[in-house]
């Protein structure tokens, strides 16, 4: 059964159908919801049908695409990819529901862009051929460019151009790396790349080519500056997809490309990535503290939290290579992955919360709010839950990933762990301060007093995110079990030097 192909092409064909038949806004909405729900339903068997016995790719599909280059339409997933694909299909449903009311202008185009984006994102996570990966990786810029540019805020054109050019810049260097690897191996399959014999020098060049592509996507400090702009200007749905899923593509890329293809260079330059991650965690945390725009605050908080992902991935290298401690490395990568999934839920939920408030008052400034809990008690409950998850309160998903990463970092360098642990204080500071100023306290002004509590649609969205946050926070075992074989294989690969 071509389940993966179905998951990629169903939303894309759905997008075409929405464009063709969605002249009425409601037709477009219902049709998109049907497509998104169907895609989500189809992604469940991926999880349940996955056999956690071995590290091999499953649900494999292979078709000759360009025989002259030995590039294939090759799909396959392991536990890591499955978790991200399910996150994608899950979030897409919520984005469609969340955009039901707020988007009332050119609805069919908006919904079609979202569905196309969903298909391309699934493609990124499912591709096992580097060229195919690159096509999906770049292709997803187009719908996001349109989403921010048409439905975004006042500075949307600046933000969307910056977003597009910035990310294109990084990934095209990655393309050169891929062509070089093709020259070495004669094919484009990731498995062949992983076994290509590469000298230390070649690995270093390739490592930086990949770093350019993925660091901008994650984004890591100092190439994160496109993200706050894009987030602030994007419509709520765009922000949710951007934070919850698109950023994960960067982390996923590090795991799929940098670690297996350039293990020695990754080890050599792990200090660099770790340092950049720590700067992201601490410095960007302080930057978040002073933001006056809620979306910008959450955007910076995203950068800081994604710092944990890169930290976990590269600390694992140090653990395997220097300390010979594969268990610790397993913990680090596992933690990075849990952090990715958790951040998907938390950031998606927080951006949805801001969207809910923005739909009522049409401002994102913190100073325009205050005492929202008085007029919107249900909303406040959700918002506080997500805020707690953002600061990593035990019992929420935010705690699990960060704790695992810090724990593994401690095994190689207590100093790194200590610095990383600062985040618990800083993120608590900016998140709780935000909650205090926006949700609690006296009612800020008359407009806030008139805000209506959540409607059914918003309930569904926030409720679903809350379920995800709590499920991963209280019982992460199904998730870690799912990813375990893939993580073990990565750790094992890391042990093998190439050059």
């Amino acid at each position: 059964m071509h389940l993966l192909s179905l998951l990629i092409w169903l939303p894309i064909l759905g997008a075409v159908a929405v464009l063709a038949f969605g002249r009425q806004a409601n037709t477009a909405r219902w049709l998109s919801l049907a497509v998104a729900l169907a895609t989500f339903a189809l992604s469940i068997p991926l999880w349940t049908g996955y056999v956690p016995a071995g590290p091999a790719m499953q649900f494999v599909e292979q078709l000759a695409w360009i025989p002259a280059l030995k590039a294939n339409y090759a799909l396959g997933v392991d536990g890591i990819a499955i978790a991200l694909i399910v996150l994608t299909t899950f979030t897409s449903v919520l984005v469609v529901i969340g955009s039901w009311g707020p988007i009332d202008n050119r609805v069919s185009q908006y919904m079609a862009s979202m569905l196309a984006l969903e298909g391309l994102l699934v493609g990124v996570f499912a591709a096992t051929d580097a060229l195919l990966f690159y096509v999906f990786f770049e292709g997803m810029l187009i719908p996001m460019f349109i989403i921010i540019g048409i439905w975004g805020g006042p500075r949307r054109v600046y933000a969307t151009l910056k977003f597009f050019i910035y990310t294109f810049l990084g990934s095209i260097f990655m393309l050169v790396g891929l062509i070089y690897l093709h020259m070495k191996t004669g094919e484009f399959s990731l498995a062949a790349f992983a076994h290509a014999p590469l000298s230390t020098r070649e690995q270093a060049w390739l490592f930086f080519a990949f770093l350019a592509g993925f660091a901008i996507k994650v984004p890591m400090w100092p190439v994160h500056t496109w993200l706050p702009d894009a987030h602030v200007e994007a419509p709520t749905g765009g922000s949710v997809i951007l934070a919850a899923i698109m950023l994960k593509v960067g982390g996923y890329g590090f795991i799929r490309f940098s670690l297996p293809i350039t293990p020695d260079a990754s080890q050599e330059y792990a200090w660099l990535v770790i340092a950049l991650s720590l700067i992201a965690v601490i410095y960007i945390g302080y930057v978040a503290l002073v933001q006056e725009d809620m979306k910008k605050l959450i955007a910076y908080s995203s950068v800081a939290h994604m710092g944990f992902v890169t930290l976990g991935i590269f600390i694992a290298l140090a653990l395997v290579r220097v300390d010979g401690n594969p268990d610790g490395a397993r913990l680090g990568i596992q933690g990075a992955m849990v952090q990715m999934i958790s951040h998907g839920f938390v950031s998606g939920a927080l951006f949805s919360c801001i969207g809910v408030m923005y739909d009522r008052l049409h401002t994102r400034m913190i100073k325009d709010y205050g005492g929202v809990a008085n007029s919107m008690p249900w909303f406040a409950a959700f918002a506080v839950l997500f805020a707690m998850a953002n600061c990593g309160l035990p019992g929420t998903s935010g705690f699990v990933g960060e704790f695992m990463v810090i724990l593994s970092a401690f095994q190689t360098s207590p100093l790194v762990a200590l610095l990383a642990a600062f985040t618990l204080i800083i993120s608590a500071a900016y998140t709780l301060w935000l909650v205090k100023r926006v949700i609690f306290g006296e009612v800020g002004n008359d407009k806030v007093a008139k805000m209506k509590d959540l409607d059914a649609r918003e309930w569904i969205v926030l409720g679903a995110f809350a379920l995800g946050v709590l499920a991963v926070g209280i019982y992460p075992k199904p998730l870690t079990d799912l990813m375990e074989p893939a993580v073990l294989q990565i750790v094992q690969q890391l042990g093998l030097a190439k050059a």
């Binding site: 360009i66 690159y134 540019g149 054109v157 050019i165 095209i172 020259m183």
Partner: protein, 492 residues
């Protein structure tokens, strides 16, 4: 004494059948058109399309087997894989020019018989050019093409901009032809033959060769002439003015079909004749490519006129095309040809859209004329967006894969620095293509009325198909690539 090799072999005429057919058909149309009233010009239009179609069928059916070439008239005329591919696309693009230009030219009172006849003669010239086996055939084909092109640019004789463009084109083009001819004469002097294959065999470029200087100068003149014809920097000065000044249908013709022919000429002259000096001309072309990429992309940013912007973008695409030659193997030429084909298809959509938006007395050639197109007509905004993303080289569109193949050829050749230059300027280029998308999608339209589409249904359908082809070829580009590879006998 009769030289045995100079005998006339009647079966050679069969090899030349597509060209002879097109010539006959053109002459017939020339006569028929004399008896037609201006209101009956569509008959000429249809006959021209039929002539192109007929020539295409003959090219296709009579194509020699894969990997083989047929030479006629003692090697003056070659019919090989490359010629087949290029001729088919030349005929296709000329057909598109006729289809797209019909309403546009009529509204400007330019849908005259000369338009079609000059197009057909130019096409004939291009077919000769890409099949040329001797310096004479190259020159004859080139002159037939360029003389027709000068006249086409000047077709709108009441427009001072058009006339200025035509004069510039003529003066600079004639100079380029002269330089080319001068180079040819030097090579003839050094080798004593006009036959490209023989030149390849005879030309001695070793350090102690007595003809070394002569050959080197000849080569330089050839490269300069080729640079002029392709519009590669620093020989690009004519291109923006001509693109802007010519009627848009003619701009499309110069930007598409002639580029295919110029590619063929470059291959015939440099690889076909001067293959022995490959290290020298690859270096020259590398410099031209880097300059073209830089100048084309940087100057395009400053343009507010879409035709002028596309002109500078053409210069940058010519740079990419030349990068394929830098590789200097069959794989590189195949990549360059693949790139040229992708470029002409994209140019077809871009200029087609300009003609679609134009009305009588109104040229939609400013970028601002595309403002808010998405609200006025989402379908054609989408078609134009496909062309722009494809020109910028964003996957999954065709233009990306063409760039990929050229970059691969460059990296395979070990010229990493050229690949980096190409990439840096591809990012610069991204900006101005995105600006068009931005204007169409994010800006408010100048007037909110739905777009008044031309009644010509064929034009609209073909343009839409052309736009969707960029997407379709982006997903299934393998057959076309294989075809290009086979044309040069390259191993994938």
């Amino acid at each position: 004494m009769i030289m045995p090799e100079s005998t006339f072999n009647p079966s050679d005429l069969w090899t030349l059948l597509p060209e002879l057919f097109l010539l006959g058909a053109t002459c017939a149309i020339l006569l028929i058109d004399l008896f037609l009233k201006p209101s009956q010009r569509d008959i000429t239009h249809l006959l021209s399309l039929l002539a192109l179609l007929g020539a295409g069928v003959l090219v296709w059916t009579g194509a020699p087997a894969v990997g083989q070439g047929v030479a006629a008239f003692n090697g003056m005329f070659l019919r090989d894989g490359m010629a087949t591919v290029l001729k088919l696309f030349v005929l296709l693009m000329t057909g598109l020019v006729a289809v797209y230009g019909r309403g546009y030219m009529r509204e400007r009172k330019l849908q005259v018989g000369e338009f079609y006849l000059l197009l057909l003669f130019a096409t004939l010239g291009m077919m000769l050019l890409v099949s040329a086996g001797s310096l004479v055939t190259v020159y004859v084909g080139l002159e037939l093409l360029t003389l027709s092109s000068y006249a086409l640019v000047a077709l709108n004789r009441d427009s001072s901009i058009s006339s200025e463009a035509a004069i510039k084109y003529f003066v600079l083009g004639a100079m380029a032809s002269g330089l080319l001819l001068y180079g040819m004469s030097m090579i003839y002097g050094a080798t004593g033959t006009l036959d490209l294959a023989k030149i390849h065999a005879i030309a001695d470029f070793s350090a102690n060769s007595p003809h070394r200087t002569l050959l080197a100068f000849g080569l330089v003149f050839l490269v300069v002439g080729i640079g002029f014809k392709l519009g590669a920097a620093p020989f690009h000065m004519w291109l923006p003015d001509v693109y802007q000044g010519a009627p848009t249908a003619i701009t499309l013709f110069i930007g598409s079909s002639s580029k295919l022919a110029a590619f063929g000429m470059t291959y015939r002259l440099l690889e076909g004749a001067m293959g022995g000096m490959q290290p020298h001309w690859t270096l020259m072309l590398g410099v031209l490519a880097a300059l073209s990429l830089a100048i084309g992309n940087v100057f395009a940013i400053a343009q507010s006129n879409l035709k002028r912007m596309l002109a500078y973008s053409t210069i940058s695409h010519v740079g990419f095309l030349l990068l394929g030659f830098v590789n200097g193997t069959a794989v590189g030429y195949a990549a360059a040809m693949f790139y040229t084909i992708s470029y002409v298809l994209m140019a077809g959509v871009a200029f087609g859209m300009i003609m679609l938006l134009a009305r009588a007395g109104f040229e939609a050639e400013e970028i601002d004329d595309f403002k808010g197109l998405n609200r006025r007509n989402p379908w054609y905004a989408g078609v134009m967006a496909l062309a722009m993303f494809s020109l910028a080289g964003v996957p999954p569109l065709f233009g990306f894969f063409a760039k990929l193949m050229v970059l691969k050829a460059v990296i395979d050749a070990g010229q990493m620095w050229l690949a980096i230059v190409a990439i840096v300027f591809a990012i610069v280029g991204l900006y101005y293509y995105l600006r068009v998308v931005k204007v169409m999608y994010f800006d408010a339209p100048q007037d909110d009325t739905p777009l008044a589409l031309p009644g010509d249904r064929a034009f609209r359908w073909v343009l839409s198909a052309n736009g969707l082809a960029l997407l379709a070829l982006g997903i299934g580009w393998s057959p076309l690539l294989e075809w290009c590879y086979r044309a040069f006998g390259a191993q994938g």
